[in-house]
């Protein structure tokens, strides 16, 4: 199956199963990418993992991202079916005021630390996670350092001017 065909098949199948959950389905750099509504994300992932038709049983990667308007956070899942060798990317976005998304630790054990990392750096709260606490940073830290409101450079520095180039 070509990736284009795969993209369309998964999209129609998800729409049949769950109704209008697929917000967009694209193919950047030949990698099927779906944006799913965050209310249904757990059901969709469970279906993709457990249905015999798709069988995406391997969670390659889970990470979070902040959108460019700074008002939304997203979680990005990379799934892999090693038998047919298909990879897909699932994304879901939600408001930064209520950054809640159901955990997938019940589907993949590996999601445990990946979700803790996403919580640690972006403050995404994974509902139902067995041990949602900081993993890399000290526990008394009260910010989520990978959000865009915390720039890499110290803003109080006066000796360096970045207006001409760079970020």
């Amino acid at each position: 199956m070509q990736t284009q065909e795969l993209l369309e098949n998964i999209k129609t199948d998800l729409t049949q199963q769950f109704g209008d959950v697929v917000i967009s389905a694209e193919l950047p750099y030949n990698f099927p990418t779906f944006v799913i509504k965050h209310e249904k994300i757990h059901d969709v992932l469970k279906y993709l993992k457990e249905s015999e038709k798709w069988n995406f049983f391997f969670l390659t990667d889970l990470t979070a991202v902040q959108t460019e308007d700074l008002k939304h956070l997203g979680v990005i899942y990379h799934l892999h079916n090693m038998i047919t060798n298909y990879r897909i990317r699932i994304k879901t976005f939600f408001g930064i005021d209520k950054p809640e998304v159901p955990t997938v630790t019940d589907l993949w054990k590996t999601a445990n630390w990946m979700e803790r990392e996403a919580y640690d750096f972006f403050g995404v709260i994974f509902k139902g996670h067995p041990n949602l606490k900081r993993i890399m940073n000290p526990e008394e830290m009260d910010i989520f350092p990978f959000r865009k409101e915390y720039p890499v450079e110290d803003l109080t520095r006066e000796d360096k001017d970045d207006t001409m180039f760079g970020r």
Partner: protein, 421 residues
């Protein structure tokens, strides 16, 4: 009289307490657990990890790993640096095989930019990546030997790792944190000395490695120590996101070089060794066989390079992303412009997101870039295989002896730099 009386009473109550506790332990009513801190800086953990173990005698009941001691926020730093500068950060992930990380990053950026890489450069990359894999596996396997009490093999193969480092040094000038290569190829063509060093390595290494294998592979003491220690089933390994030799030791033949060939790996003939039980001995044996396979890949690559007509190309023709020679910058107008644009971040980078993975020495090393067209990525994420499979460690050592836990950790090839990013 008054002062003596309470003292006696206290002694008595303590004694009775102790007696009852002993009785209860003998009756197995109440177990006494000991808490043991393994790490953060314990010589047997080869890196900065802490494990708070709850022990029942010499057996591990529960363990609580703490990570993040050398966390350096590479993903955040990457949002500030230009694409060619992030390669320097990838050195510090798995520092036992930094060339694989460097080239994995370069290939990801090349995928984003859509650069075609010449065959000669691809084969040269394959040689370096396989040398790095050999170096990494040598460290891991010889350290399993050290942790089981066999120091000789470790010292013996380290001499050969040193020769691999000499090869890196003759190509890029650095040994451990190599920063080898550029987006599009290498910074300069390899010298005659480099080729000579590679040939010397390919000719001399098999004999030394055979001796190392003879020392451990069928050694009764070593086998007794490692067989059955830290075993994991294929189902659990997949659920825990294992990749690389650790997954293959459980019997799953997943290798990124075959599943998603990059850098012309589809042209090479090699087998994927798999184990059966996923224990320490299987992981050791899978790595041993992979060293032989890597060696055969290097030999094939050398043959392919000899057969190529092209003997001079060492980078792709992409002046927009490849820093020109310093000499040209001073004498050639166009090169000056390219140099200025690259350094000042005026080069056009396409918008988009790209995931690329390579077979690192300890698993699938993935790079995920979201580009918004700026000088540096909007978001960069490293899929570090160590970080993902180390979370299975508490499950793997549950109920085992403390000494088995030590060799389980060294056989998993957990590298602190990669774990903490």
């Amino acid at each position: 009289m008054i002062s003596e009386k309470p003292k006696k009473q206290k002694d008595k109550s303590l004694k009775t307490q102790a007696e009852t506790l002993q009785e209860r332990i003998l009756k197995n009513e109440e177990k006494q657990y000991t808490t043991l801190n393994l790490g953060p800086t314990h010589p047997a953990t080869h890196g900065i990890f802490q494990n708070i173990l709850t022990m029942d005698g010499e057996y591990i009941v529960h363990s609580e790993p703490t990570v993040g001691y050398i966390h350096r926020a590479f993903e955040k730093l990457g949002e500030k640096l230009a694409y060619h500068q992030i390669r320097v950060l990838t050195d510090r992930l798995n520092y036992c095989s930094s060339p694989i990380n460097n080239m994995g990053w370069d290939m990801t950026v090349e995928k984003l930019l859509g650069i075609e890489i010449p065959k000669r450069v691809q084969y040269m990359r394959v040689i370096i990546m396989e040398l790095a894999r050999i170096a990494d596996h040598l460290i891991c396997n010889s350290v399993i030997g050290v942790d089981t009490g066999a120091m000789t093999g470790f010292l013996y193969v380290f001499q050969w790792r040193e020769k691999i480092y000499d090869i890196y040094e003759s190509i890029c000038g650095a040994r451990l944190t190599t920063n080898i290569g550029r987006i599009g190829g290498f910074e300069r063509d390899w010298s005659e000395k480099t080729w000579q060093l590679i040939r010397e390595f390919v000719n001399g290494f098999p004999e030394a490695f055979r001796e190392f294998s003879n020392l451990l592979e069928r050694n009764k003491i070593f086998m007794d120590r490692t067989i059955g220690a830290g075993a994991i089933s294929a189902e659990d390994a997949l659920s825990y996101g294992f990749t690389g030799p650790n997954l293959r030791a459980t019997g799953v033949d997943y290798d990124v070089r075959v599943a998603h060939p990059y850098s012309s790996y589809d042209e090479f003939e090699f087998i994927i060794p798999v184990g059966t039980s996923g224990d320490t001995y299987d992981r050791f044996m899978v790595r041993q066989e992979e060293v032989w396979q890597s060696l055969s890949i290097i030999e094939q690559a050398l043959k392919k390079l000899d057969a190529l007509e092209d003997k001079t190309t060492f980078h792709a023709d992409n002046p927009y992303y490849y820093l020109p020679n310093k000499e040209d910058v001073y004498n050639d107008m166009e090169s000056l412009i390219y140099q200025f644009k690259m350094i000042m971040g005026e080069t056009k980078i396409p918008k988009g997101e790209v995931y690329h993975c390579v077979e690192g020495a300890n698993g699938e090393l993935g790079f995920y870039i979201i580009s918004d067209g700026g000088r540096s990525p909007y978001r960069v994420h490293f899929r570090r295989p160590c970080f993902i499979y180390y979370q299975a460690y508490p499950d793997m050592i549950k109920g085992s002896l403390l000494s088995d836990a030590i060799i389980t950790m060294s056989s998993m090839n957990v590298i602190a730099g990669e774990l903490d990013a």
